[in-house]
Symmetry: C2
Subunit: 189 residues, 2 copies
């Protein structure tokens, strides 16, 4: 077959895959991770069940692929936030706020815990830690943050402190958590 | 049977139970949670296997009882630390440092995760949160800590930030984590 034809097939496959994962997002947002079934995905995507099974062997495989894309989306978003204009400490504040909002919306339950044990998550967490650590080091160099604690330790402090967002009732409470966490990074008066 | 005899039996049973859990502590410290077996416990405690099974149906039951006592011990220790002389903020610092040291030594792995899902743990966490929240409220009242964030939120911030201790390589790193966490609680300059 000519190369162009192969490319067309690849693009089609990719589009179907994305459509399946888009449907999965809708279903997860509607009824939670546990509620997703292969029949629902096929129906809502507008493909046959047989076609769906050519792409994914079972619902766990769909959820894993969906979760990988989901986490990757968070990471892209956070990298974009970090890339906005402003001082390092301002950009750090924006990244921590965006991450806390993500942590707040995180799905709970056993299935979410299993997905979170995946390698793609530790990979993404590593990237996020690098991003935050870079901003902390930059802000410490310009005198806005404390220099008496290594940036790698301050990064772990931030990431753990912000997991408290999961139990918070409002966006303003998340804002206060970010403020308190950032304040911990400031130089001792 | 006379009452005295019953009391003697109760005391004996309690002593055997404690001895079994003491042995379990040794075994867990020696080889981790997974390594503990009923045969080892019986042998090291100096009782027969048949006797051991009169006290505990299986090794999971021993580990659960051991973990309950273990967590209870941590809680007693933290309450004692909170009860020492000093200002509220000094006592809070001491409690956070003691808790971070506990978090640092926490056993990892699947079995530890299962034990940590037990009701006794959420019960203990609730008690610890109450303890810390009381100290934070007291210190905020005396002007040493910020008043613009509710003590309940500051407490959750502390507990989550200090879980970062689990990955830290040294006691001095834990000390820095506690210092940073406490600094987050200070009033904005």
């Amino acid at each position: 077959m000519p190369k162009l034809w192969n490319e067309t097939i690849d693009a089609h496959r990719q589009a179907v895959r994305e459509a399946i994962l888009d449907t999965t997002t809708e279903l997860v947002e509607g009824g939670g991770l546990r509620s997703v079934t292969m029949s629902q995905i096929a129906e809502k995507t507008g493909i046959g069940r047989a076609t769906l099974y050519k792409y994914f062997s079972d619902v766990e495989a769909v959820l894993l692929a969906w979760h990988e894309r989901h986490i990757q989306g968070h990471l892209h978003h956070l990298a974009k936030v970090a890339d906005q204009p402003g001082t390092a400490v301002e950009r750090l504040g924006a990244v921590l706020a965006a991450y806390a909002e993500i942590a707040r919306r995180r799905h709970g339950g056993e299935l979410a815990a299993v997905l979170h044990q995946g390698e793609h998550v530790s990979h993404a967490e590593h990237h996020l830690a690098q991003l935050i650590q870079g901003l902390i080091a930059e802000a410490a160099d310009s005198g806005d943050l404390r220099k008496d604690v290594p940036p790698v330790e301050l990064t772990q402090y931030c990431l753990h402190a912000l997991t408290a967002a999961a139990g918070l009732p409002s966006t303003s409470a998340v804002g206060r958590l970010v403020d308190v966490t950032l304040h911990g990074l400031r130089p001792n008066a």
